[in-house]
């Protein structure tokens, strides 16, 4: 390689103005396909999102239209101690995640309590529970401040069959917008 070549390699670092979009696409939008479940557990406006990564992993959290996020009362507690064993104690380990627990579509993940209400958050897909968001336990306000990113509830790893089944009942982002905006 000659000097000119070396110089080009340095100049390549600088983006051109037209390469910079006004707002950079957030990682949780570019790396995931967004799906939604409305009225989870038959409760009106218990809306959840399910972000599916290209590798099959699913991040579950509260959709913007969820009652807990729309109500003015503050979220005070996120409690993963639901079911026989606390979800926070279900630690997956190793490349094969051999200790991971398999949860069902309607299994609860956690209980969210605000000043005047309680909400159960559910899996929305059958799969192994890889991790819960322990930061929510110490800082529940993350859930209302950053519901789509740092305020996620859990990460699940479904089998391909489970995904095929869940996909049929989930809404795409477009469908979600249509449904919820019409109602507003």
């Amino acid at each position: 390689m000659d000097d000119k070549e070396e110089e080009n390699a340095v100049l390549a670092l600088y983006p051109r103005a037209h390469e910079l979009p006004p707002r950079a696409p957030p990682a949780h939008e570019t790396n995931f396909t967004h799906y939604f479940a409305l009225d989870v557990g038959g409760k009106e406006f218990h809306d959840q999102y399910l972000y599916r990564h290209g590798n099959g992993l699913c991040v579950v959290g509260l959709a913007p239209s969820h009652l807990a996020l729309r109500s003015p009362s503050k979220i005070k507690i996120v409690d993963y101690d639901v079911g026989k064993k606390s979800r926070a104690d279900m630690k997956a380990s190793g490349r094969r995640k051999k200790d991971a627990q398999v949860l069902e579509e309607n299994s609860s993940l956690c209980k969210v309590s605000s000043e005047d209400a309680e909400f159960l958050v559910r899996c929305c897909i059958r799969g192994q529970l890889l991790e819960v968001n322990e930061r929510l336990t110490s800082d529940p306000s993350l859930l209302s401040r950053k519901p789509a990113s740092q305020g996620y509830i859990a990460i699940l790893m479904p089998k391909p069959e489970a995904w095929k089944k869940a996909e049929k009942s989930l809404l795409t982002r477009e469908q979600y917008k249509q449904q919820r905006m019409q109602q507003e």
Partner: protein, 498 residues
């Protein structure tokens, strides 16, 4: 008779020499058993009867096998003709270039049995001259004798046919190996009695024993048998043979290594075709990888069997490799061609003139085996430098730059990123961000260029966008806003010598 040879013969104890020849050892095997070493093996050797005529045939009481055509000890190996020619043919067939060679010899295990048999006989007949129980301590091994006998012949044949210049050409450290494999059809049946004798061993290893393969095993069982026991199961001296060994000659070159650094200017070319693509969302269009772009130019030059591409770490497909480039090595297996540095420069130029220009290389050179270790180490414990285009959810301030550049040796806790969590263990790994340096980008208030140096193994994209807060602290948390990464380049992979 050659003067050197005659001198060597006359210096030996005459009675054992006479006996050795009369029981059918060739003259070179006779010398082996009398511990003669060195250059004399390559002289043109007189046949046994001629030597007996020279030193006197003695009483001639026992049957004399000295005129039999095939040596009863080496199975005719040391009497082989045309070894130089056989080697020459093997090399010409493959088309190898080389400047020296090492010789590898394989002999049938039956020759060990025959050596032992002759030794038992000699111990009985000449107890004064042959005392040890095990011949291996005293005699010149057949392999050694083969090298002394045929090495100079092969050298001469190669020099004559202009494969080699004069000078030191046979070298045990050479990377070019000429192999002489001597096989004998009867070898396995001749050693069968050994596995019958040592019962336990035979259960483990049944079936026909390949020439050469079992030589160590045969050596072990011979060492465990007393001479008396041996003599009960095998005739001493060794029986006559009708047919000599056959020779198969072949040659091969050790792997050679071409090292250099590569640059990758594209965000849609992967490092290697077998890079796992699953981290990536989007179309799976097949585009030549950096490995192929480089290998397709270098590999044909060496007329080799195959090559393997190894790099010191790898970048994601959408990350460019700029600046220093990334060290890589091509392991080239059984290359026929020897390359000169100026030819490597031409190859470098050829890669760099590829019209697409997405992949460039620099510093191509040939290297020894040690680069392997350097690469592995560099992959694990060296620092890496990156440049990222970072976006903030609010306009960038001078204070942001100060905050980041003041964070030296910052320790972060990084959970296994979501994008690789499906195939890696869920862990929290501490990683060090050694330093950060910011550069404003004109015409944009929310973007800046972040230069950073990290410990090997840091997931840089996640350090910027935070990966759902799973890498912490991250650029966003340090600046108290949202941060996103628009694109990433590797600018320096530090490594000595490469």
């Amino acid at each position: 008779m050659e003067a050197l040879f005659r001198e060597a013969l006359l210096a030996l104890p005459q009675a054992p020499l006479r006996d050795l020849l009369r029981v059918g050892a060739c003259s070179l095997c006779a010398m082996r058993f009398l511990s003669v070493r060195g250059r004399v093996y390559s002289q043109s050797v007189p046949a046994s009867p001629a030597i007996l005529a020279e030193i006197g045939n003695g009483d001639g009481l026992e049957s004399d096998r000295s005129s039999a055509s095939c040596c009863t000890v080496c199975q005719g190996i040391l009497q082989s003709a045309g070894v130089g020619l056989a080697v020459l043919e093997a090399i010409q067939k493959e088309g190898h270039e080389f400047c020296d060679f090492s010789l590898e010899v394989t002999v049938p295990s039956a020759t060990l049995v025959r050596e032992r048999s002759l030794w038992c006989y000699l111990r009985k007949e000449h107890p004064e001259d042959f005392k040890a129980e095990d011949p291996n301590e005293c005699i010149v091994s057949l392999k050694e004798a083969v090298k002394w006998t045929f090495g100079p012949q092969i050298e001469a044949a190669l020099v004559k046919n202009s494969f080699l210049g004069m000078g030191k050409v046979m070298d045990k450290n050479s990377n070019f190996h000429i192999s002489l494999v001597f096989k004998h059809a009867n070898s396995s049946s001749e050693i069968q009695f050994l596995s019958d004798l040592s019962g336990g061993d035979s259960k483990r290893k049944r079936g026909p024993v390949e020439a050469g393969e079992s030589i160590a095993a045969v050596q072990r069982s011979l060492a465990s048998i007393s001479s008396d026991a041996f003599a009960r199961h095998y005739p001493c001296p060794p029986p006559q043979l009708d047919t000599p060994c056959e020779l198969v000659s072949s040659c091969r070159k050790d792997a050679i290594f071409v090292v250099g650094r590569y640059l990758k200017y594209s965000r849609s070319i992967s490092q290697s075709p077998w890079t796992i693509q699953e981290d990536r969302i989007g179309d799976g269009s097949v585009q030549a990888s950096a490995c192929e772009i480089i290998g397709d130019v270098i590999f044909p030059h060496f007329k080799a069997d195959s090559y393997k591409f190894h790099a010191a770490g790898r970048e994601d497909i959408d990350v460019r490799m700029l600046g220093s480039g990334r060290p890589f090595l091509l392991e080239i297996l059984n290359a026929r061609t020897c390359s000169k540095q100026e030819e490597l420069l031409k190859l470098e130029h050829a890669i760099n003139s590829n019209k697409d220009g997405w992949v460039k290389v620099k510093g191509l050179k040939e290297a020894g085996n040690e680069v392997w270790t350097i690469m592995r180490q560099g992959e694990a414990d060296k620092q890496k430098e990156y440049t990222a285009v970072v976006w903030l959810s609010r306009p960038v301030t001078e204070a942001d730059f100060t905050t980041l550049s003041n964070s030296k040796e910052l320790e972060i806790q990084q959970k296994t990123p979501v994008r690789v969590l499906h195939r890696r263990s869920p862990l929290v790994r501490p990683r060090i961000i050694h330093w950060m340096r910011c550069e404003a980008l004109h015409d944009s208030s929310c973007y800046f260029l972040l230069h950073l140096c990290t410990q090997a193994g840091t997931y840089v994209k996640e350090f910027v966008h935070g990966d759902l807060g799973r890498t912490y602290p991250n650029v966003g948390s340090l600046l108290d806003c949202d941060a996103e990464i628009l694109c990433l380049d590797v600018t320096n992979v530090k490594m000595d010598f490469l």
